[in-house]
């Protein structure tokens, strides 16, 4: 079977930063593979190692600069990558769920996978909606917030656990083809080996514009307009203990004794 994994390069922000307009100033930003997608890649690669998947393909919406991140996914074992970018996407503050759905759906239709794995959410914009939206758009089945997948996939069924709130898991069978959104903790993502990193440089990466995948620019017009960005006001009324580690530890020690919870 063929597995497609959606991979996003997310922006990371330093502890101290400044905001310019509706963006964080560039010097405070880094870039990384989205944490949730890392688990999705690992799950796909494990399915390949278990002989279930024949091919693992990644798909990314992003400019050329994110190819390093895509190579990370290839270094971990994905076979090839598709990257979609277009001049019309330059300068868009926030690509909304519908726009991502149109683009990813077009690639998925072309690739025709049996299973799509997608991180539950992206660490930057945190929408947590694209995977389910894509599934519905394509007429695929789906499961959101999956933290366990049985690897036999017998009779075209994915048996999964969905992580609900409060330490409860839901056991669900989902017909394939399906999109599963993958929660952290489902596996232990591997580090790319040196050999993997070398091999990744030679793996194929297709770069496609919107026209190449049959998506009209007007269909991806984003409906959500980001109008302001600011640091949340601190509501802290904590007592900050100051001094050397010895002094602050002593303050905490006194508190614990006062409360009668430690001797």
């Amino acid at each position: 079977m063929k597995i497609l994994v959606t991979v996003k390069e997310v922006a990371t922000v330093e502890d101290e930063f400044e905001i310019e307009g509706t963006e964080i100033a560039e010097q405070y930003l880094g870039a990384d593979l989205n944490e949730w997608d890392d688990y999705a890649i690992e799950e796909a690669v494990q399915l390949q190692e278990d002989g279930i998947a024949d091919e693992v393909v990644t798909v990314t919406i992003g400019p050329e600069e994110c190819e390093q991140t895509i190579r990370q996914a290839l270094a971990k074992g994905a076979d090839r990558a598709v990257r979609v970018w277009d001049d019309s996407l330059e300068g868009v503050d926030l690509l909304d769920v519908n726009a991502k759905t149109e683009i990813l759906s077009a690639v998925i239709e072309e690739e025709d996978p049996d299973l799509v794995l997608s991180g539950v959410q992206a660490g930057d914009d945190s929408f947590a909606a694209t995977g389910v939206s894509v599934a519905e758009n394509l007429g695929f089945q789906w499961g959101a917030v999956v933290n366990h997948l049985e690897h036999d996939l017998d009779d075209g069924i994915a048996s999964v656990r969905r992580e609900l709130e409060g330490g409860v898991e839901e056991l669900t069978d989902i017909e394939l083809p399906a999109v599963l959104t993958i929660q952290t903790g489902i596996n232990e993502p591997r580090y790319a080996s040196l050999r993997g990193i070398r091999q990744a440089q030679k793996k194929p990466m297709d770069v496609k514009a919107l026209a190449d995948i049959g998506v009209d620019e007007s269909t991806i017009e984003t409906e959500l307009e980001l109008t302001d960005m600011y640091e949340p006001e601190s509501e802290s009324d904590a007592t900050f203990w100051e001094g050397s580690p010895e002094e602050t530890a002593s303050e905490l020690g006194d508190l614990l004794r006062d409360k009668g919870v430690a001797q």
Binding site: V132, V145, D228
Partner: protein, 318 residues
């Protein structure tokens, strides 16, 4: 079209708290748009749920009696049909695990934009301004949206609606296409039983990403031993397999209410805070004075845990 259709959340026979918070958020939006607040409650003991949801501010409750538990295909079909019937401006759902399992599908089916995990909503009669967080809570953003939309709200951001309402309760006869149901829920399992119940502890020493390496956990174990405390953690520690699931505090782990909660190297993501904010006294040890955990801490030490924790151990071991 100015009405609001809000969809209640329930599990294993119980309405979830966010359902009552949804009434407050929905009423506020309906007041701003000049419309009615409709509630939908789908599957389970819907008549019983409807009675409980009939609180101040609800205009109508639509019950869809189909199956016991949540199934996203049933929800998606029922909500899209209710949307045609009620013709609301906004479909409002919880940003819960189940909300995220159907809200994007409903939006796509209805060809509406979806905005998730909102923490504040404002409407001037035409434009919705939704407030949400980005970058793990480091910034807040406002987002404008014209026209109809599907909106999910974060739990515990709006107060729960109270009082007794006089909503019209009506059964809605949704036509559920069984052939289109592609997933089956086979049951539920509680996870994280095990040796220790952290929800019973009086003193919790809780560790997060700041511990950096698995072998550094020994330092925190030593601290817990010295204090006679119970060891717990935030999600990443459990995801890494460094501690078992029964030690996880948070939305998807355990809710704890100890006398003292010492959060060490924990930034305080909203999912974690949901599990420990009821602690009597919260102490944070963190290098970042702006970490979200500081907003709910009673006492804080802004310092390196690897410097402070050994001092604390020494103090109690003598």
């Amino acid at each position: 079209m100015t009405d609001v259709l809000a969809v209640a959340d329930h599990r294993r026979g119980e309405l979830r708290d966010v359902s009552y918070e949804l009434i407050t958020a929905g009423r506020q939006l309906a007041d701003e748009t000049g419309g009615d607040l409709h509630l939908a409650v789908i599957s389970g003991t819907v008549d019983d749920f409807a009675d409980k949801l009939n609180r101040d501010g609800v205009d109508a409750i639509h019950t869809v009696d189909h199956g016991e538990e949540f199934n996203h295909d049933v929800y998606t079909q029922a909500i899209t049909q209710l949307y045609d019937e009620v013709a609301p401006q906004y479909v409002l759902t919880p940003n819960s695990v189940n909300g995220l399992d159907y809200a994007p599908a409903v939006a796509n089916e209805l060809d509406l934009p979806v905005v998730t995990d909102t923490i504040d909503l404002d409407n001037d009669g035409e434009t919705l301004v939704a407030t949400r967080e980005m970058y793990g809570g480091k910034v807040e953003t406002t987002n404008r949206l014209e026209g109809d939309a599907v909106v999910t709200i974060r739990g515990a951001e709006w107060p729960a609606a109270e009082g007794t309402g006089d909503a019209a309760i009506e059964a809605f006869d949704a036509e559920i296409d069984e052939d289109a149901i592609g997933s089956t829920v086979n049951g539920f399992e509680e996870v994280g039983g095990g040796d220790v119940d952290i929800s019973e502890a009086e003193l919790l020493v809780s560790i997060g990403r700041g511990i950096e390496e698995e072998e550094n956990l020994d330092l925190i174990r030593d601290l817990a031993d010295a204090l006679g405390a119970t060891l717990s953690s935030s999600r990443p520690i459990v995801d890494n397999g460094w501690l078992p699931k029964n030690r996880q505090v948070g939305q998807s782990g355990k809710v704890v209410t100890p006398d003292v909660y010492i959060a060490i190297g924990i930034s305080g993501a909203v999912q974690h805070v949901a599990g420990m904010k009821g602690s009597d006294t919260i102490v944070a040890i963190n290098t970042d004075p702006n970490a979200p955990i500081m907003d709910i801490a009673d006492y804080a030490i802004v310092d390196d845990l690897f410097d402070v924790v050994p001092e604390l151990i020494e103090e109690f071991e003598g």
